[in-house]
């Protein structure tokens, strides 16, 4: 039996999902907007979705996670965030010689929060550093998406050892939880300045994760 969930993503869900690492981070100051959007999703019965629909959903998922709004910070073990997207031409490492270090928050040299403030007001000036309701940081190195193929990303998202222990339902919940904090996921579709947002919508992305998961997490060959 499927479960229908409709809620305003926020601290109520945070309490339920306290095992997720980002929840330990402090909330930002009161901004113009301090809560996330309405996110609804229905958890389908595993196996209730044909693999072909799951594969189509993953194609959209990959379009999202490989987009510069997501992939620029989902970088590998060199710990260097990237600048890429329509305004950059060829991808290049973040300017100012930035490295986030093994801490992935820049603690070894220059904290990300020196410029990227913890503030849920996404409306920045063009070319100003983006900010979010969670402390700015790189995700764990095993979550690398930059310069990764669809098959590689699919294998990573299918492996709880490389998703912080999350299965597909928990991945979808993670997205709504982040949105409740006005975090990085929600920012990807509301990036401020003149940045191109991630494709589709957060609502569609959540639904695609659930469709892909219920279809048995089919992965492309390349």
């Amino acid at each position: 039996m499927s479960q229908a969930i409709t809620r305003r993503a926020g601290l109520g869900l945070a309490a339920l999902l306290c095992a997720l690492a980002p929840l330990s981070l402090a909330l930002g100051p009161a901004g113009a907007e301090t809560s996330g959007p309405e996110i609804s999703f229905e958890i389908p019965e595993p196996g209730s979705v044909p693999p072909t629909l799951g594969a189509e959903a993953f194609e959209r998922i990959y379009e999202v996670v490989s987009h510069p709004r997501c992939a620029n910070c989902h970088v590998g073990e060199d710990n260097r965030p990237m600048w890429s997207g329509p305004s950059y031409g060829a991808p290049r490492p973040h300017g100012m010689n930035i490295t986030a270090g093994e801490s992935r928050i820049g603690a070894e040299t220059l904290l990300c929060s020196t410029c990227h403030r913890t503030n849920g007001d996404f409306d920045t000036d063009p070319h100003a550093p983006p900010r979010a309701g969670l402390d700015w940081r790189l995700p764990p190195v095993e979550f690398q998406w930059f310069d990764r193929s669809a098959a590689q990303v699919c294998a990573q998202l299918s492996d709880p050892e490389r998703t912080g222990g999350r299965d597909w339902v928990e991945l979808a919940r993670h997205l709504t939880e982040d949105a409740g904090h006005r975090g990085f996921v929600l920012w990807g579709w509301n990036p401020g300045g003149n940045r191109e947002p991630a494709p589709y919508s957060l609502q569609t992305h959540v639904e695609d994760i659930l469709t892909w998961g219920a279809a048995g997490m089919p992965c492309p060959e390349s």
């Binding site: 930035i98 040299t109 913890t118 007001d121």
Partner: protein, 154 residues
């Protein structure tokens, strides 16, 4: 909105727009003009101050983030009769040329030494590359940071 915080140890309270950058709170409302405006988009580092002990770009910190915070600016880092070790080293090495970026450079360098008392050249470069100097005083900045580290070591 009204916001109360400390600047250089003194309690301050201002009534400003929630989105006003700390830079303008300091310069226009509190008269502390040692913190400089360079670009307004965190590309140059000229407005660097310390917020609760951490270097930040004052142009990116909104007033609504300041309630209860402690801000340290170049005016409060040292006193003329008792310079901070970084300021002392800056004088010794005659770092400044035009000087416009130097308050930001000094505040960033002081924050670096708080976190890393003996930084290597590479660590200095990594921490200081977000602070631009159009006069190109970078070699003197690096030398002065090494000297300040030795002064602080004692």
């Amino acid at each position: 909105m009204k916001v109360s915080f400390k600047v250089n140890g003194a309690a301050q309270s201002v009534d400003v727009a929630a989105e006003m950058p700390l830079l303008w709170v300091l310069r226009d409302h509190l008269g502390l003009t040692g913190t400089k405006y360079g670009c307004g988009i965190a590309q140059c580092g000229a407005c660097t101050v310390h917020l609760d002990g951490q270097a930040v770009r004052a142009c990116q910190v909104q007033a609504q983030e300041l309630e209860g915070a402690e801000v340290l600016t170049i005016e409060g880092l040292g006193r003329p009769e008792a310079l901070h070790a970084v300021q002392d080293a800056w004088v010794e090495h005659q770092v400044a040329q035009c000087g416009y970026c130097q308050s930001g450079q000094i505040m960033q360098a002081a924050a670096l030494l708080d976190l890393n008392p003996a930084p290597s050249d590479d660590e200095i470069d990594a921490a200081m590359s977000g602070n631009l100097c159009r006069c190109g005083t970078y070699p003197r900045i690096r030398a002065a940071i090494h000297a300040a580290a030795q002064k602080l070591e004692g």
